[in-house]
């Protein structure tokens, strides 16, 4: 992590046009990508849970959704912070931010659903169904937002449009940042997962006492 931070803030050359604010890019992009990467995890684990009813699968899906929500929150905030000095607006409705925001809403809905449904298998089943629908939906959100922008091309300003203009050390910096944040992402999910395991164990012990 320290190495990444060093690379991001010191080693990578400052962007000619965008200036120092461009450095936030190395946090923003990995956060966005990894936040969305939680969807396939949620999708696979939710489907497996509904078929096999294994609590482990549900716990992984839950943990992934939590960390996904966290990463996307950071991606949204850094995105806005970066967008303001670069393009003069806090928000644009190009495909990536649209997808990020809608996905974030889906994760929030997922977490709220878990909070509002009964504990145990029923809540887990509801959440799994939402997880599946939400993950599949994210593809449609992206497509819809993309076609929409293609129809109205005057609004196209996307972070990915910038990718071609990255110089090589910037690209290396981005890759290393992505790698480092992937490790953090995996670590956080495992951490949440083991916490949840312990919670379940405590619950089971409570049952046995009663």
């Amino acid at each position: 992590m320290t190495v990444t931070m060093y690379l991001i803030f010191i080693w990578v050359p400052t962007d000619d046009v965008l200036g120092i604010s461009q450095r936030i890019f190395y946090i923003h992009v990995p956060m966005g990508i990894l936040g969305l990467m939680a969807f396939p995890i949620v999708f696979i684990c939710s489907t497996t849970y509904l078929i096999t009813k294994k609590d482990t699968m549900d716990s992984i899906a839950y943990s992934a959704a939590e960390i996904g929500a966290l990463f996307l929150t950071i991606a949204l905030i850094t995105g806005m912070l970066w967008s303001k000095p670069s393009w003069g607006v806090w928000w644009t409705w190009s495909p990536q931010p649209t997808l990020t925001l809608v996905s974030w809403l889906v994760y929030i809905a997922y977490l709220m659903l878990r909070a509002y449904s009964p504990r145990g298998s029923q809540g887990a089943k509801y959440a799994a169904v939402l997880g599946i629908i939400g993950s599949v939906n994210s593809i449609f959100v992206y497509l819809a937002a993309k076609i929409w922008r293609d129809v109205h091309p005057e609004a196209v300003v996307g972070p990915l449009a910038e990718n071609d203009s990255l110089d090589s050390s910037m690209r290396i910096g981005l890759l290393i940042a992505l790698l480092a944040f992937s490790l953090l992402f995996t670590y956080l999910i495992t951490l949440r997962f083991s916490t949840r395991k312990t919670e379940q164990k405590i619950e089971r012990l409570q049952y046995e006492i009663n």
Partner: protein, 224 residues
Amino acid sequence: MKSFLQPIMAILWKDLLTEIRSKEIITPLVGFSVVTILIFSMLFSGSSQLSNKFASSILWIGFTFGGILGLIKIFSSEKENNGMAGLSSSSANTEQIYFGKLISTFLFLSIVELIMLPVFGILFNIQIFILELWLITLLGTLGFSAIGTTFSAMTMNLRSKDIMLPILFLPIVIPVIIAAVSSSTEIINGGSLSEIHIWLELLVVFDALFILIGAWTFRFVTEE
């Protein structure tokens, strides 16, 4: 085939009969949606160019919020004496129950659309007798119902279901709304079918996929 359809038709018949007698869904929905687009039309009055661009957005805003009210209600007849449990305990498949509820949801929302489109045409001075416009509306409504049925059944058993349904439902229907609004705007402003075929494809794939997912997952949202 007939034995597969029988429970589905029974559910549809029961929902229609209940609706004719209780008038709980269609009437309030039309009222709410019409008032919503009326207010928007009033606020946008005097700027005909603007309203041409935003007319279909307003229609779908009215329809989305009215639709949510309808979805909250669509399972209320199953809730009163837990008819849903009666269905689960019967030999009908959950897929059949899902299709039955999906068809009645789709029918109710389509009837609301049927009434709203002329109102919309009058208020915004728009020619509504275009086949493509109706096609888009129906496809959008189908996608809306496919997801709505699942979430309506799910939130039926939740605490504060009236607030949970929109929170779960709205982010998921965003693609449908974008596709419907964008293609209707195109059509209203004289676009042809070839210009919107990509939207139609998106809607068809969306509908088909979510009907399949809905049919498969329905048993998990109805088991108590």
